[in-house]
């Protein structure tokens, strides 16, 4: 039964359904319950933006708060995963990766390889990313490319409620370490989501819109922005194909290549900083694999090489918008003339 729920509710539902199905799934992070040890209400917060609200009541003993010590509790999630649990730990903001990155990239990501195939680490680390909340430089980054770079990790970045539920269920069922990245500006967006459990495979992009003139690959919140740009472009007779990779590791390069073979033009929209970004990664792969099909240079629409500013006027300039995407498409389309 599909009904319309929010991205936040879709994530909450995925957690609840998986916890119901598999008693080994445990959920913890800072304020994931909210109120532990305090005299007032327990489950007062249910996560800083309410994503885990209500889970404590349904699964007491399996949903826990943690002290603010990421290395310890992210590391604990990883260790627990090797010991028979399927933990879903929350790294509240992706910007906090600095205080626990070793546990993620040197331990979890490498166990299987270093131990010659004799380790299974089914841990999910949920984390919030992205700009737009006026949360300033240390709470607004898009550091997905850093995790994508590390062999041994998988990275999912859903752009809508349907994908959020299906990918989180897939992440929890996955036996490899997964970084599940939730864009903070998408929590209130709504969409049709089946009540039943379902799982979306990793490495399968979603073609959000068909079109024959240009391929736009967009990530996370930028998928919606790209769709708005595509609607505008249709008005001037340019039909854009919008591809949402959904997972950046593994990446469904085949779908992107197939599209570029057909359109001959690629625009990649990624709100992160430009150097060593997902945009540059995708662009390089496509340039190598589909060079012959390209009618124009690949256009990258990204944030600038700066931290995310606080002032709303500046943050709005930082984030790629519809005019920037339309402009990039026009550059590509006009190139062949």
């Amino acid at each position: 039964m599909a009904r319309s729920i929010s991205y936040r509710e879709a994530i909450n539902e995925a957690l609840a359904q998986e916890m119901e199905r598999d008693s080994r799934v445990v959920v913890f992070g800072e304020d994931n319950v909210g109120g532990t040890g305090a005299p007032g209400d327990i489950d007062a917060w249910g996560g800083v933006l309410g994503v885990t609200k209500g889970l404590y009541g349904k699964f007491p003993g399996r949903v826990m708060d943690t002290p603010i010590s990421e290395s310890a509790f992210i590391g604990a999630a990883i260790g627990a995963a090797t010991g028979g649990l399927r933990p879903v730990a929350e790294l509240m903001f992706i910007d906090f990766m600095g205080v626990c990155f070793d546990q993620i990239f040197n331990q979890a990501a490498k166990f299987r390889y270093m131990f010659g195939g004799n380790a299974v680490t089914p841990v999910v680390i949920r984390t919030m990313w992205g700009a737009g909340l006026r949360a300033a430089a240390q709470h607004s980054q898009s550091l997905l490319s850093v995790f994508t770079h590390i062999p041994g990790l998988k990275v999912a970045a859903p752009s809508n409620p349907y994908d959020a539920k299906g990918l989180l269920i897939a992440s929890i069922r996955d036996d490899d370490p997964v970084i599940f990245a939730e864009h903070k500006m998408l929590y209130d967006t709504t969409g049709e989501v089946p009540e039943e459990s379902y799982s979306i495979p990793f490495g399968e992009a979603n073609v959000a819109r068909d079109g024959g003139d240009v391929t736009i690959v967009a990530i996370g919140r930028m998928v919606n922005t790209a769709l708005e740009a595509a609607a505008e472009l249709a008005g001037s007779g340019v039909e854009a194909e919008v591809i949402d990779p959904r997972t950046t590791s593994p990446l469904d390069l085949d779908t992107i290549l197939e599209s570029v073979e057909n359109t001959g033009r690629l625009v990649v929209v990624d709100e992160s900083n430009p150097r060593c970004s997902l945009a540059s990664d995708i662009s390089a792969s496509v340039a190598q694999e589909a060079f012959g099909a390209l009618l124009a240079p690949i256009q990258l629409v990204t944030g600038p090489h700066t931290p995310v500013p606080f002032a709303d006027s500046l943050e709005d300039l930082f984030i790629p918008d519809v005019p920037k995407i339309v402009g990039a498409v026009k550059t590509a389309v006009d190139w062949s003339k």
Partner: protein, 365 residues
């Protein structure tokens, strides 16, 4: 005089359709049209189809421009005898415009999707025409095929509901029904249909089945002929041994758009019927927990190696329920069998979608 002006309106194709667009008109003002003539191609979010004329007469005015999104029920054209004055036509056109602007259209509620518990499984269904008195208390039950659901009857259920109570159900493993199919055998599925009749309080019903659904309703009739007023089998499974095995096994196994899309073209005579929405809806269905297992079990019911495993004529031998068989002459999934009395229609395997009008005319209820 305005009673003689008949409106051609935006049809409701499917439970969730809210709006549609006329893509192309095939008739012009001044044409005389007969019932069943193709009037226009209409496209909705989910499907594209051809609007057939529900009446005969002189087409006086085309009200809807092509490419404009209009709500279900909006006036598309006016049919009226030549004697009706232009002023009266204009006033109805003005009325239609006002109605559109008022936003009163398209607000009707979707019919409620209900659930029945049958043999410990939850069966999702939609009933239209529940107030129909003239079906003699014998409703019609529509049973879809392998990998389908109750929405595939979108061009059939509404028109039929004008004269009958029509239930369209989701078989176990499909749509919004529970995904557990047990052993996935014909017997289990037939039992579910009979159980469904109990659940909706129907002593007897007309059963219409497509593809696997055709074999299911035949099996139900064989088991309990006294419950079945008539059988209409649309491209049913179990006639002959040939089948597009690659399609059936491929559909069950496909887990990505790339794997699924090429297969779906085989379902239709007109491959443009495979819209993005169709592919997306099927992918979403296939990702639901339990579907892969259900389809795998059902494939083993349908096939024995690379031949059909079911023998529907054998099931029906000696069963004295009236049977009508209809087949699309361009069916690539289950080819038209020899030596069977059947009506051909101009369509592929999904005849109830591609040639709904013709199929409706063949139903002898």
């Amino acid at each position: 005089m305005t009673e003689r002006i008949q409106k051609v309106t935006m049809p409701k194709w499917g439970l969730s359709m809210k709006t549609g667009k006329v893509i192309e008109w095939f008739v012009a003002e001044g044409d005389t049209i007969a019932k069943g003539d193709d009037l226009a191609d209409i496209e909705t979010e989910k499907i594209a189809g051809t609007l057939e004329s529900p009446q005969e007469g002189l087409l006086r005015r085309i009200v809807a421009d092509t490419g404009v999104e209009l709500p279900v029920g909006a006036t598309l054209a006016l049919v009226a005898p030549a004697e009706v004055s232009d002023e009266e036509i204009e006033s109805v056109v003005a009325e239609a415009r006002a109605q559109l602007e008022s936003g009163e259209l398209g607000g009707e509620d979707e019919p409620a999707v209900r659930t029945a518990e049958v043999d410990g499984r939850s069966i999702s269904y939609v009933t239209l025409g529940a107030d129909s008195g003239d079906d003699g208390g014998e409703p019609v039950v529509l049973v879809h095929g392998f990998g389908g659901d109750k929405n595939s009857w979108l061009f059939v259920q509404q028109p039929l509901s004008e004269s009958h109570t029509v239930h369209a159900l989701d078989l176990p493993g499909h749509g919004q029904s529970g995904k557990d199919v047990g052993d996935g055998s014909l017997d289990t599925l037939a039992g579910t249909v009979l159980g469904f009749l109990d659940a909706v309080g129907a002593a007897r019903a007309h059963l219409v089945g497509h593809s696997l659904g055709g074999a299911v309703v035949a099996a139900a009739a064989a088991r309990a002929p006294d419950r079945v007023a008539s059988l209409t089998l649309l491209a049913p499974a179990g006639y002959g041994k040939e089948a597009d095995v690659e399609y059936l096994r491929g559909f069950a196994a496909a887990s990505s758009r790339r794997e699924l899309k090429p297969l779906l073209g085989r379902l239709f005579a007109d491959e443009s019927q495979v819209t993005r929405q169709l592919v997306d809806d099927l992918l979403k269905y296939k990702r639901l927990d339990g579907v892969a297992e259900a389809l795998a079990a059902l494939v083993e019911t349908l096939l024995d190696g690379d031949r059909q495993a079911i023998d529907t004529p054998a099931l029906l031998a000696g069963v004295s329920v009236p049977v009508t068989v209809v087949w699309g002459s361009a069916d690539r999934i289950l080819p038209v069998p020899d030596g069977v009395t059947l009506h051909r229609v101009d369509a592929g395997h999904m005849l109830h979608m591609e040639a709904a009008g013709e199929v409706l005319r063949q139903l002898s209820l």
